[in-house]
Amino acid sequence: MNAVLPLAVDDSLPPELRDLLNSPEGPAFEHALDTMVRQREQHLFRALGQLARELHDAVRRLGGELAQEGVPGIVADARQHLQDVLEMSANAANRSIDFAERLRPQAESLARNAWDVLQQAEGDEPAAALAREAATFADSCRAGLGDMVVAQSWQDLTGQRIKKVASFIGTVESSLLELVRLTGALAGVEAPVDVAKVTSQEDADRLLSEFGF
């Protein structure tokens, strides 16, 4: 604002205005000018204030709705939930691969033994029939277990999507914080922390709580 500089000597004013301010009617003119500007400003500020309050309420409502029962309370919770999903799915996939790794050598050994029996047994002996069945079973087990291992790649494919969603949530979080700061400032609540300086979860939580989230 130009409050520090008397209007009459302010170089940035048009010369016609400066002449008027320097004339004998100067003080009266300046008073009238002030009143007019203030009226216009107040109108604008009222409109802005109303807008800011509505926006602030909307953001506050959004925060409230996000905190409903069964829904992650804060964004960090949401991210943690996704991280948990990633870990649980990796554990599940690893368990399946464990089974396959344990059973595959057994299937291979069963196939080998069955073939050994088949070499010695006569074609119509019950042992030969059993050995043939065992060999077929062992082969399909080995193939099936291999397929089961490959099928665990779902964990990688879903995991990549989960990571993308987690990073999207991070973007939404910083946008929301910026919105909270802006609407808070506009609604007349002083922003205590510069959003650019929000680096930790504690900062984020503090900023949100100071705005009533």
Binding site: G146, V149, A151, S153, W154, D156, L157, G159
Partner: protein, 131 residues
């Protein structure tokens, strides 16, 4: 034979390792790295015969790893097989232009992996014979 498997998901590294064993690479030393940066550190410190890499990884992606390998005199001839969920045209072209030796789209089967690996090893054998 020494193979480096690069993927940020440990599950995927394990799956590829399993497949390689299933495909008969039993006398093969299979090592793992979780991103391109760590892969480059390993590639510079010991000789490998093949790199199997994912595309989408933190710090250094698979395509950047491929370019780094091709840009380094000691490594530029190293065969690189890309195994990735990235399957759009531009990415496949970018990988081809960077000099990839094979491109497998996830999810893949043992048959596909065997096919691509066989092709790569045939080419290595052919170039080794002609050299």
């Amino acid at each position: 034979m020494k193979i480096l498997v690069v993927d940020d998901f440990s599950t995927m590294r394990r799956i590829v390792r399993n497949l390689l064993v299933e495909l008969g690479f039993t006398n093969t030393l299979i090592q793992e790295a979780d991103d391109g940066e760590n892969a480059m550190i390993m590639l510079r410190s010991q000789p490998f015969d093949l790199v199997v890499t994912d595309w989408n990884m933190p710090n250094m992606t698979g395509i950047d790893l491929l370019r780094a390998i091709r840009a380094e005199a000691a490594l530029k001839g190293l065969p690189v097989l890309m195994v990735t969920a990235e399957n759009n045209r531009d990415q496949i072209i970018a990988a081809a232009q960077a000099g990839v030796n094979g491109y497998v789209v996830k999810p893949f089967t043992a048959v596909t992996l065997r096919e691509k690996l066989t092709k790569i090893f045939e080419r290595i054998a052919a170039s080794g014979a002609s050299a």
